[in-house]
């Protein structure tokens, strides 16, 4: 049935992005694990400078969507368009180079590397010099390393983390590690930044600061941000379009107000909620 149904018109792209090619468009996206359909009929469009939210109960398939978009999993069905271009056949690395960067629900920093080195890993494809000139310390090495160093500090300054540049990433407090993950992802120069539970484990004041920073990042870099988050204050506070996932399917799309009042969403959350 899926192929014949016309795609739902998308109501959640902000007006300012309507005349631009969407940064991301998925059509009939789905994946099966064995006999189990984890995600199905995932149709979503994200505007060029939109902050979009992906919410849903635990196990709804939110992180699976991120893994599909970044080609950690190859989709079983459907297409993903990035800047209007198909990404089928692309590898994770190619998708990153084409403009998708992400953070992880369980922090995956390179913990034995320093904060600055972590950011420089993100800059890897933008810093070019031959390894030989690196070993021999030729001028091209110094120039490129200087650019990388300055760029790394500039990115770290978004979160006022320049002073931590020399510290081991693994030694940072939890909140700082989450922020560093965002900086490292930004370093890859994305047009779409995927944040997987960026506020997890943060206290309310840290979360409030994070909300400001996410908006600031969008304004500064003019990129789209899609985030998975359980903190409803954050989602409702900054997301322009929200997509609700349950059992691997989109059950609602809309603005914060529309989602809050949607009976299907309320049922999915309250009906399935097991604790707290």
């Amino acid at each position: 049935m899926s192929k014949m149904v016309p795609l739902p018109t998308n109501s959640i792209i902000p007006e300012r992005d309507l005349d631009k090619i969407p940064v991301l468009e998925t059509r009939h996206l789905g994946i099966d694990f064995g006999g189990l359909t984890a995600v199905d009929e995932f149709n979503l469009t994200i505007g060029r400078t939109e902050i979009a939210g992906l919410i849903g109960p635990n196990g709804a398939g939110k992180t699976t969507v991120f893994n599909l978009l970044t080609k950690v999993y190859q989709p079983t069905r459907g297409t993903i368009l990035l800047d209007g271009k198909e990404t089928s056949g692309m590898s994770t690395v190619q998708v990153n180079q084409a403009g998708i960067a992400r953070t992880f629900q369980n922090i995956r920093l390179f913990s034995s590397l320093t904060v600055e080195e972590n950011v420089k890993i993100g800059l890897h494809n933008q810093v070019k010099y031959r390894t030989v000139s690196g070993l021999l310390r030729l001028p091209s090495y110094w120039n490129q390393e200087k650019i990388a160093h300055e760029r790394a500090l500039e990115l770290l300054s978004i979160f006022n983390m320049e002073d931590l540049a020399g510290h081991r990433a693994g030694s940072l407090p939890y909140g700082a590690q989450r922020r560093l993950e965002i900086v490292r992802a930004l370093a890859t120069n994305p047009s779409l930044l995927l944040l997987d539970e960026p506020a997890a484990g943060m206290n309310p004041s840290e979360t409030a600061e994070l909300m400001e920073n996410i908006t600031k990042i969008r304004d500064t870099f003019q990129i789209a941000i899609m985030l998975i988050e359980h903190d409803m204050n954050l989602v409702m506070g900054i997301c322009e379009g929200i997509c609700v996932l349950n059992y691997g399917r989109i059950i609602a799309k809309g603005t914060a107000d529309e989602i809050k009042r949607n009976p299907v969403v309320i049922e999915a959350y309250l009906g399935k909620k097991k604790e707290g």
Binding site: V72, V93, N106, H124, T131, L135, A187
Partner: protein
Amino acid sequence: MAFLSYLANGISLGSVYAIIALGYTMVYGIAKMLNFAHGDVIMVGAYIAFCATSYLGLPSIVAILLAMAVCTILGITIEGLAYKPLRAAPSLAVLITAIGVSYFLQNAALLIWGSAPKSFPSLVGIPPLKLFEGQLIITGEAIVTVIACIVIMIGLTLFTGKTRMGKAMRAVSEDKGAAQLMGINVNHTISVTFAIGSALAAIAGVLLCSAYPVLLPTTGSMPGIKAFTAAVFGGIGSIPGAMVGGILLGIIEIFGKAYISTQLADAIVFSVLIIVLLVKPTGLLGKAINEKV
């Protein structure tokens, strides 16, 4: 004086082990596999250097560079043909493949160069150093080996610590998936690792055969296993660990031969390994492994 002489020999032999162990440990660190064919790459390197000097009459330095070039290509080829298709396979399959590659290289060498031992000409043109009025003689080979080992160590430390590729390698060794998502080409990184390890193997082969001049198709296997032991001893995956492990292993082996028993020297070496692993399972400088969920 005999003690100092043994110590010098031990450090020299240990330096060869260390250079070989670097190849094992880097490949393990990045690709999480044990490349048991590494020892045989040493042998190939030695044969190439032997042919270059004895048949073609090339100068030593050219012969060494040629051996390094051939081994680098060999290493990348082995990785691309034998290991890369198995990237998603269980580690046991990769291990068996590595042993297969090892036998393949030994038998290919047997086919090309025959089973008769070749007498390897020393490629080191430095006269021995005579100390204490000639009571302590340190061979030119030993001096060059130790210097080579130190230079390689410094070079690798700079490479992994300061260069873009080196940082990418450390990132891949820590979290392959996250590195890919940051745009690091893991396959390319692994190829580079094999290239470096194999080039080092060629140097080790030349140094080893310059000091112990009998060249056979099986020449690489025992030093390969010893170097693997050294890598585990020092903490597999750790570059300084391979260095420390290699040199300690060389010293233990020579002292064992000199003071205890020539026959038991290898048994002593491996006993020390077992004791170290019982006390510190991650090796001397190894890090505790954090399983990521």
